[in-house]
Symmetry: C3
C-alpha cells in the first residue's frame, strides 16, 4: 500500500494544475489590462533590451594607460629674467607624461634665496609689531615665511608699526602676479594623448590613434570634431571646448578635465568602438570673485655655491592642470543575462495580474 | 466566416479573465498571508523607496578636482645641517598640490656624494668578505649600494672578516634614523584642501568651501566638526582623527587617507548637499613590530662643481603621505526607476501568492 | 449598522483567498512545467547563491595604499658619460614610491645646454630654409626646439638648402637612441610592493605581506606562483609575465600594469582572503611598427655656474612605467540581500505560471 501511495505522490508531481478563469466581457477592464501588458512589453523590449542592452554581458573593468607629450616653445623677454626660451622641459611639471600634467602659464620668480634674516613680507597680520617683545624669538609667523628672531624692524625712527625680522629663505617673495600671463603663448602648444585600453573579459584592445603606416599623419594632424582619431590637441582649443578662455585662465591658473569614454558594443565590428572626448573645467569657475580661485604652487631649484652654501630660486607657478580620465564599458551577447532579463520581465508581467487581483479582493466569489 | 473568426479572436484579446477564489475562512492562514504582504510592502516602501531612494535616477560618475596647499614653517638646528628653516617648498613632495602629497617629518641626509670607490655599508651579507676573490669585480652587491671592485677591505691586519670595496655614490648612507623626528613641528602645519565636484548628468557643481565674500574667513578658520565648510586642516588633528599619534608616526612615516563623500539628494535644495570627511590610516599600523612598517623614500639634489663633476646630496625622507579620495553620488526624481521599482516590488508580492499555491498543491480540488 | 459593516470589512482582511485549479492529467505539460521550475531553482541556487553569493552583503569601496621601493644598482661605461653607477635615486622617477613608478632603461643625454643661438636639428620641415626671409624672426619652429632668429645657416657657400638659426637651449638634442639599452641590467632590479587594504563596512584590514617575525624573510624571498605572500618582484619577470621581453621593451620603453585583486569571502577565515596578481602590458604592443610606440619623456637637471648663468643637462629617458591598480570586494552574510534574492527568485517562479496562463488564454473556460 505504501508503495502505491509513493507512486501516486510521485506521479502527481507531474500533474499540471491550471487556474480557472471567468472570461469577463467587460471591455473597459480588458483594454486597460492590455495597455498595461503592452507597456511592460515595451519597457522590456525598448528599455531593457534596446537601450540597456540587457542581452549583453558587460565588462566595466577597463584597463587603460595614458601617455602624454607636449610640444611647443615660447620666448619671453622680461627685465627680471632677461631673454629666455621656454621649452617642454621647462614648463611641464611633472615631466613624466602621465594622465595628469601641468603647464606653467604665469610665474613669480624669487631668485637667489638664502637662509638668513630679513623682513617678513607686508600684509601678514602676525608679523606686525610695535616693539621687539611682539616678535617672540623662535615663534613661526602664522601664514608667514619664517620664524621670528625677536627683533621688530621699523622703517622710520618714530614709526609705531614695524615688521618682525624673521629667519627664513631671504629675501621673501614679493607678492605681485603679472597681470598679463608671461607664458600666454602656451595657448598654441599641442599635447599628444595616447590612450591604450583593454577589456580583459573579452580580451579586446584598442588605442585612440588611427592605425596607419603614414609617418606624416601624426606630425600634421590636429584633433577636431571631424578628426577623432588624431590625438593631438591644441591647448587653447581644449580650454575653449571646456567653456573657458585660455588667456583669462592663464593669469590665475585652473584645472581642466579631459574625459575619454569608450562605450563598445563588441557584437558589432571592432572599428565601431570609438573614444568619445569631453572637456570640462574642474575647478569651480563661479568662485572667481571669491578668495579661492585659480591654481598655483611653489617649487624651487636648489643650487650650491663655491663655498658650499645652498641657495635656491623659488618659483610660484600659475598654470593649467589637465586631468585625463578614462572610462569605459564593453558589452557582448551572452545567454545568461538574456535569460535573466527575460525572466524578470515576465515576472513583472505576472505582477500586473496580482495588482488586478488585489483590487478585486471583495468582488471574488466561490465556485 | 474567416472574418467572423478573426473578429472574435481580436475581440477576445480584450476579454478580461479573472481567477476564481475560494474565500477560506481560516483566520490563521489569513493573518500569516497579510503579515507576509505587509512585510513586502514595508520592504518596498521602507527599504527600496526611503532608504535606497528607488524613485531617483542616480549619477555616480562624479567629476572631481582636488587642489591642496600647505602652510607652515619649521626651524631646526642640528650639528649635521646647522641652522635651517624649512618652508613648504622644502618639505612638500611633489610640489604640485594634487590629491596626493607627502610631508617630510624626519630625514637622513648624506651630503656630498660623488661617484667613486668606498666601503659598502655594514650589515649587508653579500658584502662581507675574507679575501679579494669574495668580491668579484663588477658584480653588484645584492641589496647594496654599488658594484664590487674586487678588493676586500679589512680594518685590522689579521682580521678575518672584511667588507668589499664598491664603486658607488660615496660615501654610502649611514643607517641611523633620528629617534626624535627632525620635523616634529610639522604637526602644526595646515593644509588647505579645495575640492570642486560636478555631477554631469544633472549639471550640478559644488565646492567644499563656504561661498563667502569675506576675505578673512579662509585666513582664520580651521576645520572642525562644527565648521565643515572651512577646508583648512591641522595636520596633527588629521592624524589623530585617523586614530594615530603624529609624533609616533613622524618617526617612521605612514600613509593617511582622507575620504570626501558627497551624497547629494538633488530633490532637496543644493545647500543640503554636504561633503562628509573621514580619515583613516591606510598603511597597516598593526605591522609595527614587523619589518615592513612606515613610509620613506630616497631622493637627491644634484649639483655640479666648478670642474664639471656631478655630486649630490642624498636624502632619505620619512614622512606622512596624505591620499585624498573623493567619492559621490547624486540622485534626482525620475519616473523610470520609480516605475521599475514599483513593478519589481509588486512582482515580489505576486511571488507570495505563488509560494502559497505551491504549498497547497495537494489540497486543491476541481470545480 | 455602520459598525457591523466596518467589522465585516476588517475581518475580511484576514480572509484567505485561494485559487481553484484543474488538475490536468496531461503528463507532457506537467513534465515541461517541472523542468522549467527546476531550471529556475537551479538558477536561483546555483547562480544567485553559489556563484554570485547572493546571500552576502558586499563592500566594494576598498581603501588601499600602495608603497613601492626599488632595489638594485647598475654600472655603465660609455664614452659620453664615462664610468657611472646608477642607483635607485638616479633611475626611479618620481622618487616617492607611489603606485606609479618609472624605471629608466635607456637614455639620450644632452649635457651643458645654455640659452643661446644655434642650428635647429635636422629633419624638422619647418626649419628648412633657402634664404634668411624663410626664417621669420621670433617665430617658433613648429615641432622644433626654439624660435627663429631670422638667419638661414648654410653649411656650404652655394648650398641651396640650409637650416634656420634658432634661439634655444643650445646645443639641441641629437636624435640617436642607443640600440642596446644603456640600463638593460635593470632587468635584475627588484621592487617591493606593499599593499594595505581595508574594507570599511566590515572593518577588515589586510596586507599582501606574510605576517612574520622573521626579519630575513623579506630580505631573501622572491614572488612566485608558490610564494604569493612575498611582495618582492623581479622586474624582468614582471615583464615576462605580461607577455613581453624586458630587453626588447627597454630600448623604446612601455607601460606595464600590475593588478592586485582582493576577492574576500569574510564568512570564511581571514586567512582565506588572498591577493591575486595579474600583469599586462598596457601600451599597445601591436603598434610597434607604427609611429607611436614606446614610452619616453624629457627632463633636465638645472645648474648655475660661477657667473650666475643657468645651464642644464637634458635627459630623454626611455623606460618602463609600472602602474599598480588595486581592486577588491568583500562579502559577508546578511539577512537583507538573502531575503531580497529569495524573493526575486520566487517572483521568477511566479512568472512561469503567468507564461503558461498566457499561452492557454483561449482554452480557459468558465465555472
Amino acid at each position: 500500500m505504501g508503495q502505491v501511495a509513493w507512486k501516486g505522490m510521485f506521479m502527481s508531481l507531474f500533474d499540471y494544475k491550471t487556474e480557472k478563469y471567468v472570461i469577463a466581457k467587460n471591455k473597459k477592464v480588458g483594454v486597460l489590462f492590455r495597455i498595461v501588458q503592452l507597456s511592460i512589453l515595451a519597457y522590456l523590449v525598448g528599455w531593457v533590451f534596446v537601450v540597456k542592452k540587457g542581452y549583453q554581458d558587460t565588462d566595466t573593468s577597463i584597463q587603460s594607460s595614458v601617455i602624454t607629450k607636449l610640444k611647443g616653445v615660447a620666448y619671453t623677454n622680461t627685465t627680471e629674467l632677461g631673454e629666455k626660451l621656454w621649452d617642454v622641459v621647462d614648463y611641464v611639471i611633472p615631466p613624466q607624461g602621465e594622465n595628469v600634467f601641468f603647464v606653467v602659464t604665469n610665474l613669480i620668480v624669487t631668485p637667489n634665496q638664502r637662509q638668513g634674516t630679513c623682513f617678513e613680507s607686508y600684509g601678514i597680520p602676525d608679523a606686525v609689531c610695535s616693539k621687539n617683545t611682539d616678535c617672540t624669538e623662535g615663534e613661526p609667523v602664522i601664514a608667514g615665511n619664517g620664524v621670528k628672531t625677536g627683533r621688530c624692524l621699523k622703517s622710520g625712527p618714530v614709526n609705531t608699526t614695524g615688521i618682525c625680522e624673521i629667519f627664513a629663505w631671504c629675501p621673501v617673495e614679493k607678492k605681485k602676479r603679472p597681470k598679463i600671463p608671461l607664458l600666454g603663448k602656451a595657448e598654441n602648444f599641442t599635447v599628444y594623448i595616447k590612450n591604450s585600453i583593454r577589456f580583459p573579459k573579452f580580451n579586446f584592445s584598442k588605442t585612440n590613434i588611427l592605425d596607419t603606416d603614414d609617418d606624416s599623419f601624426l606630425k600634421n594632424c590636429r584633433f577636431s570634431e571631424e578628426n577623432h582619431y588624431c590625438p593631438i590637441f591644441h591647448l587653447g582649443k581644449i580650454v575653449s571646448w571646456a567653456g573657458s578662455d585660455f588667456q583669462d585662465m592663464a593669469v590665475e591658473g585652473g584645472v581642466i578635465g579631459i574625459r575619454i569614454e569608450w562605450d563598445c558594443d563588441l557584437d558589432k565590428d571592432a572599428s565601431e568602438c570609438h573614444p568619445h572626448y569631453s572637456f570640462t573645467r574642474l575647478d569651480n569657475k563661479f568662485t572667481e570673485k571669491s578668495v579661492s580661485s585659480g591654481y598655483n604652487f611653489r617649487f624651487a631649484k636648489y643650487y650650491r655655491d663655491a663655498s658650499g652654501i645652498d641657495y635656491r630660486t623659488m618659483i610660484k607657478a600659475y598654470g593649467i592642470r589637465f586631468d585625463i580620465l578614462v572610462n569605459g564599458k564593453a558589452g557582448k551577447f551572452n545567454i545568461i543575462p538574456t535569460i535573466i532579463n527575460i525572466g524578470s520581465g515576465l515576472a513583472l508581467m505576472g505582477a500586473v495580474r496580482t495588482i488586478e487581483n488585489l483590487r478585486k479582493n471583495d468582488k471574488d466569489f466561490g465556485c
